[in-house]
């Protein structure tokens, strides 16, 4: 039995309650996963588990290496004609390559203090790092260039996208840095990435997005307008969503250090309302920009995040192809 299998078994037995919606699915239990110290090992476990479970995946067949054959139509470059297929089928097909080897993915990981919160055995930051590591590892298995940019109120770490030996290790090291900053300020890292990345690529933002919406919308829009494909993973703690605190207590803001006396019994309703407003605001902003927003609570198996990612990729692929068709059809 492989390590991944063992984790899957554990997951089946022990995590039934926390992932009641996913009961019966064989995913690695995040609590168990987080016990693995090495970030790279975690990523490996998730990705390999993902491959193993691929045949049962509802997203079967999607891949970054998406490619297609398309019937030749006048105006296409004859260089891309697949002559072998022509020989077999006596029809002209154009071989369409995705620019996948040239895919440059930027992982933007929020390392602010608010990410240090966790009502389970690990924090949102752990989950975010693991998510970033999983995506990076997954992409590296596809031979894609992955870079990382860690930020709190400013950029703390930047590794440009590369695909070369040792890059994955450096990337993991960068992700393993402890939390240092105070507030979440998305404007600076987004500005910075816009400055740094001139080539179009994939930008994955992993954050709790506990920040004012206006600036976020502006900068995401700016990034999107530069032609980048933007995917946002919003990492949230279940306690943040449901506000499941019992007794009145002093609440300590991890970012500002502010303390408030809060009686959850009286405050919960108001909290949930304001939280929902904020969440809707983000969702509206992302929808208006055509950005894929995925929410991930930290007790959610990481494989599902990977599925979300691939789902986003596939949607973008369709979007791209649709756009391409429209574009190509114009002059044709």
């Amino acid at each position: 039995m492989s390590t991944a299998d063992r984790f899957k078994t554990a997951s089946r037995k022990g995590n039934a309650k926390s992932n009641s919606g996913l009961r019966g699915a064989s995913y690695v239990d995040p609590t168990t996963l987080m016990r693995i110290k090495s970030l790279q090992m975690r990523a490996k476990v998730v990705v390999e588990g993902f491959y193993t479970g691929m045949h049962r995946s509802p997203y079967h067949g999607f891949s970054v290496e998406f490619s297609e054959y398309r019937q030749y139509s006048p105006g296409d470059d004859p260089r891309y004609l697949d002559w072998r297929l022509y020989a077999r089928s006596d029809r002209y097909y154009v071989k369409r390559f995705e620019d996948e080897t040239n895919l440059r993915c930027h992982l933007l990981v929020d390392m602010s203090q608010s990410m240090g919160f966790g009502s389970v055995a690990y924090t949102k930051a752990d989950y975010a790092k693991t998510t970033a590591a999983t995506l990076a590892y997954f992409l590296s298995t596809q031979r894609d260039a992955v870079g990382v940019l860690a930020f709190d109120e400013q950029v703390t770490e930047y590794l440009p996208p590369r695909f070369r030996p040792g890059h994955m290790h450096r990337l993991m090291l960068a992700l393993e840095r402890p939390l240092a900053g105070t507030a979440t300020d998305l404007s600076k890292p987004l500005e910075r990435i816009a400055e740094l990345v001139t080539k179009r690529g994939l930008v994955v933002l992993i954050s709790d997005l506990l920040a004012p919406i206006d600036a976020l919308q502006t900068h995401l829009g700016y990034l999107h307008s530069r032609g980048h494909e933007v995917v946002v993973f919003r990492i949230l703690d279940p306690a943040e969503i449901d506000f499941t605190f019992g007794k009145p207590a002093m609440f300590h803001d991890l970012e500002s250090g502010r303390e408030l006396y809060v009686d959850p019994a009286t405050t919960r309703e108001e909290y949930l309302r304001r939280f929902a407003e904020h969440r809707d605001g983000i969702r509206t902003a992302c929808n208006s920009l055509g950005i894929d927003l995925y929410e991930a609570t930290i007790d959610r198996p990481l494989e599902l995040v990977l599925f979300d990612f691939l789902h986003a990729r596939s949607r973008s692929g369709r979007r791209v192809s649709r756009r391409t068709q429209v574009g190509r059809g114009g002059p044709g």
Partner: protein, 696 residues
């Protein structure tokens, strides 16, 4: 119902503790870190809503237990009917000790002291007994305690006022320690012997200026009785500027000047003083006053030229301070007395003989001039020097007639030293002391030494100090062993290391005879070269002249010896003109009560001596507050009669409470309540747990 320790009732406040704990339990204890408070609104702490009492019975039980405990600790008791009043207090014993030393002569002090005594007398209540003591160098009972059980305070107070009216400060030094010890002893024993209640207050009220010159030595070795309280009523002069004048050295060493010490007290503000001579009538004419600068707390020794011989100036007067009592120094010129001494011997001249050393043993001093007459044994019969001699020293064998003449001299009160230079003097001794006394020549191996010395004898007592008691350096090359009859009644003052007598003293008639078993000349010993020789002979001479003589300077209160007063009529005239007749057996005169020049008239001879105020009396600055405390006496505040009644009431309460012991019952009930509370709480806890378990 009363409480012995009602302060413990403050513990009743603890009843609120269960309530407070209840409320505290509701206040937030936790502190949650949270990612961001951007969606959270603060809620005001609303305790009131939640401070609902869950279980009144438990609260009541806990409150009751605390109340019972607090009440038990407060020691409740049922007060009996007897209520104590001021009149129930046992009478107090108050000893008023008034300082009458010379320093109390300062202006205003005595009036203050009288008022302080009056205050004490005014405070007397029924049953109080009071006594009046005075002290200076000595202490004295003026009005003693009554031994009667019923004391009439008014009568006693008037008795005391009368005694006080006749009292005024004297001129003596103040021996405060002695007086306190004596009065404390007396008042302490008084309380113990008359079988009174232990509650009797024994108090000494000290009315004094507490000058730093007062002697406190006696307190150092005294354990102050714990139930005798000392209350100090201090009197203080309006002006503290006081300087004193005292003799710095007894002998006028440069004959034309007198050394005096001007000491200025610590609290003095003056620094410049002048000295001048006066006689009975006032300052003598044509003299230059001497200016003395003495800062406060310091003293200066000044050489004052003696007054011209043709004046009758007998006192040096200091001016410049506020208080006059210690500003006069009476002075009598030093008298040199002539002491004739007869030496009978026929030894050779020069350093080998005895006489050579004898002549050098009595140097002349300002007080004394020894006139040494020498004669041969043959001349002894005829010489008149024998009758006038204070002491005779014989070193040769005498013929019978000569011996008889010597014996007659000794029997009439004279003193003789016979130096047994050789065994030939044995016949002389035999005739003087009896035929059984014989002499043998002894020549010890190496040498003989002092073996045993009677340091209690006045002759050797000056050597008793370990620094001077080493006689081992004196070697005797030869000596004469004296064999004494068994019924001999003299004393052996020193023995050789061979146990043979070295120096004997024997009384013959009214006189005394010393026998020295070896000579001091180099042939016999090196006694004459030792440091002991001169003091030993001087001691003999002093004893021969009748002990001490009248000196020229005394302090007030000193005892003046009256030498040579062998049944002669004598009198002493005091400076105030009064005359004291001396009793025929009086050896001393004690009535030196005031400073001035006294004159002793003894058988037509007149001797004057000066009496001055003691130097300690000039140290008038007040002693530091803890001076008495350091010697185990802690002066306290007087307890008033109502305070005393309170104290007594408290003691009765303690006794009542001790008998009733209600606290035991309260503790028992509290324990029972606590047991009930525990049981109830346990039961309630079980009943709340069960539904939870079944619910789970």
């Amino acid at each position: 119902m009363s409480f012995l320790t009602p302060l413990y009732l403050l513990g009743l406040a603890a009843v609120s503790l269960p309530l407070i704990f209840h409320l505290i339990r509701r206040t937030p204890k936790g502190r949650y870190p949270f990612s961001s408070l951007m969606f959270v609104t603060p809620s005001p702490p609303r305790l009131t809503q939640r401070s609902r009492i869950d279980n009144w019975l438990l609260l009541l039980l806990r409150g009751a237990a605390l109340i019972l405990l607090a009440a038990a600790f407060a020691r409740p008791f049922l007060r009996s009917i007897a209520q104590l009043g001021v009149a129930d207090i046992a009478g107090r014993k108050i000893a008023i000790l008034v300082d009458t030393s010379a320093s109390m002569q300062r202006e205003g002090l005595w009036d203050q002291a009288s008022r302080k005594v009056e205050e004490v007398l005014d405070d007397l209540g029924p049953g109080d007994d009071v006594a009046l003591y005075r002290f200076d160098a000595r202490h004295e009972v003026l009005v003693g305690f009554d031994n009667q059980s019923v004391v009439q305070p008014e009568q006693k107070a008037s008795q005391l006022r009368a005694a006080l009216a006749g009292l005024k400060p004297g001129w003596s030094a103040s021996n405060l320690g002695d007086a306190l010890v004596a009065v404390a002893d007396e008042i302490d024993q008084l309380g113990n012997t008359d079988g009174q209640d232990i509650q009797t207050v024994r108090r000494i009220v000290l009315v004094s200026d507490l000058q730093e010159g007062a002697r406190l030595d006696a307190l150092r070795t005294y354990h102050w009785p714990s139930d005798v309280e000392l209350v100090v009523r201090t009197v203080a002069p309006v002006a503290g500027n006081n300087a004193g004048l005292h003799l710095a050295s007894g002998n006028e060493t440069p004959r034309e000047a007198l050394r005096v010490r001007v000491s200025n007290s610590r609290d003095s503000a003056r620094e410049q003083f002048t000295l001048h001579w006066e006689d009975r009538l006032g300052p003598i004419a044509d003299q230059e006053p001497i200016h003395v600068y003495a800062p406060s707390g310091e003293s200066r020794v000044v050489r004052v030229p003696l007054p011209p011989a043709d004046t009758a100036a007998d006192r040096l007067v200091l001016t410049g301070d506020d208080h006059d009592y210690d500003n006069r120094l009476f002075r009598i010129p030093t008298r040199q007395s002539e002491l004739p001494l007869l030496y009978v011997g026929d030894d050779e001249e020069g350093q080998t003989g005895l006489r050579y050393y004898l002549e050098r043993a009595f140097p002349e001093t300002p007080e004394r001039k020894v006139l040494l007459h020498a004669c041969s044994p043959e001349e002894l019969i005829a010489t008149e020097d024998l009758d006038s001699a204070n002491m005779v020293i014989v070193s040769s064998a005498l013929a019978e007639r000569q011996t008889d003449r010597l014996k007659g001299y000794v029997e009439s009160g004279g003193s003789a030293l016979i130096v047994l230079k050789d065994v030939a003097t044995g016949s002389t001794i035999g005739r003087l002391m009896g035929p059984e006394v014989t002499l043998d020549e002894v020549e010890p191996v190496d040498y003989a030494m002092f073996g045993q010395i009677d340091f209690t004898d006045p002759l050797f007592s000056p050597f008793a100090d370990p620094r001077f008691s080493d006689f081992t350096k004196i070697h005797f090359w030869q000596y004469r062993r004296i064999t004494l009859p068994t019924d001999w009644n003299g004393r052996v003052l020193a023995r050789f290391d061979s146990e043979a007598p070295l120096l004997l003293e024997s009384s013959i008639g009214r006189g005394r005879l010393w026998l020295l078993a070896a000579g001091w000349h180099p042939k016999d010993s090196d006694l004459s070269r030792s440091t002991k020789f001169v003091p030993l002979l001087a001691g003999m001479l002093e004893r021969a002249t009748g002990g001490s003589k009248v000196a020229t300077q005394y302090d007030v209160g000193d005892r003046v010896p009256i030498p040579g007063h062998r049944g002669l009529a004598g009198s002493i005239s005091a400076p105030n003109g009064s005359t004291f007749e001396l009793a025929s057996d009086a050896a001393s005169f004690d009535e030196t009560n005031e400073p001035g020049v006294y004159t002793l008239t003894l058988d037509d001879a007149q001797v004057s001596f000066a009496v001055n105020v003691p130097a300690e009396e000039s140290r008038t600055a007040r002693m530091s507050a803890d001076e008495l405390g350091q010697r185990g006496v802690a002066p306290g505040q007087p307890v008033t009669r109502s305070e005393m009644a309170d104290r007594l009431r408290q003691m009765r309460d303690v006794e009542l409470e001790g008998r009733q012991k209600l606290w035991r019952w309260l503790i028992a009930v509290a324990l029972a309540v606590l047991i009930l509370e525990t049981w109830l709480a346990g039961r309630l806890a079980r009943s709340t747990v069960k539904p939870m378990e079944t619910g789970a």
